[in-house]
Symmetry: C2
Subunit: 203 residues, 2 copies
DNA sequence: CTTCCCATCTTTACATTGTCAGGATTACAG
DNA sequence: CTGTAATCCTGACAATGTAAAGATGGGAAG
């Protein structure tokens, strides 16, 4: 049973792992379903039973990608000094994820292959969005503030993932973080006019 | 000579036009070279002589895409009241292009298929970047300001092109522009402290 | 005007890919 | 032990990208 069991046991998870590796190597545009099956050591038609077609597999992978995305942001937000710092850290997490897994980032944000009508995927995406809204609400911000933080974080992340923003690539990590911090701070709702020892959620 | 001349006359341009149509319909990920050849009414191997392979065609298309991108921004910048308004209009042009030609936008900013080492493409991209730097310089801004305006403009455009930012889709056009204007204004270098009748380029 | 060269385009061929249909194997309930 | 359904495989087909070799005609050299 250890060499080649006809029934894999947990092929679905194995295929997802293989798909993630394939994606990381070939990118979304070079992704091959048959190659994924080979990685998992299984026939080329095996994925069909679990995911239907290629879109189904990429949809499932996108769901997993969203949770990993959110995990990265959550990890960064830990240790924030206040709500303001927390929002900035979320933006830095956004970039960290895009640089660590650029292909997965592209899959969930810039690809037409996953089925965004799938309830699991819309749920995963909504969770991430709601989290962002929570960050802004804690600062007393409105819809415009949500757009500002999201767009700026996404822009830095997407351009960096595609190696388009060479200005940032040249800098050291510390210097880079400092620049991004100052950029993100502009996007947050105006700070309390006075030195605020007052609780942030006053309104 | 009007029915089927063996020599097309200007096949290269015809293929580029067909490729743009194909891209608009199928997207980058559904792009087919053979389908492009059919559109141009030519054999499936005809593009090879002019562009080498698919990457070559998409590279040439990306070059054309960058010039159209810049044209859209330039058109929007016309009629700006001052340098500050001009930078904001550039951002709105960024979005306008992404919404008008989402697939072309993805091709030049979020695809791995064009060859970004090709000198024509790097030149076209550099022109767009240099233009952005000029906008910020006119406002007395620095590198951080360039990143801020670019990232925010790109984020709004990319998320809108992918229909990810539903908040903006719901709004009317006027309301949408107003929100984006206020977001972009945050990214620009701090305004002159006093009511400025003074020429902007004083420094 | 004729001849020859070569850019242009076609035809043919092959490997790869996604998807479907049908068959083989195994787990599991009765 | 037996039958059923889930799981996985084999085989086939159309579409695709790419390379090789042939067909066509424009244009220069004589």
């Amino acid at each position: 049973m250890s060499q080649k069991p006809y029934h894999h046991g947990d092929l679905r998870a194995a295929l997802l792992a293989a798909a993630e590796a394939e994606l990381a190597e070939k990118g979304v545009e070079g992704f091959s379903l048959r190659s994924v099956a080979k990685r998992a050591g299984v026939s080329h038609a095996a994925p069909a039973h679990h995911f239907g077609d290629t879109g189904g597999l990429l949809t499932a992978l996108a769901v997993e990608g969203f949770t990993r995305f959110q995990d990265t942001l959550d990890a960064r937000e830990q240790g924030a000094t206040d709500d303001r710092d927390r929002a900035v850290r979320a933006g830095l997490g956004y970039l960290e994820f895009a640089l660590a897994r650029p292909a997965l980032f592209r899959l969930i944000f810039s690809s037409a292959r996953p089925d965004y009508a799938a309830p699991e995927l819309t749920a995963a995406a909504s969770r991430a969005y709601d989290h962002l809204v929570g960050l802004i609400r804690a600062l007393g911000g409105d819809e415009t503030d949500v757009i500002a933080l999201w767009a700026t974080s996404h822009g830095i992340a997407d351009l960096s993932a595609g190696h388009k923003m060479r200005t940032l690539q040249g800098k050291s990590l510390a210097e880079r973080e400092a620049m991004i911090r100052s950029v993100l701070l502009r996007c947050l709702p105006a700070a309390a006019p006075e030195f605020s020892r007052i609780p942030d959620r006053s309104l």
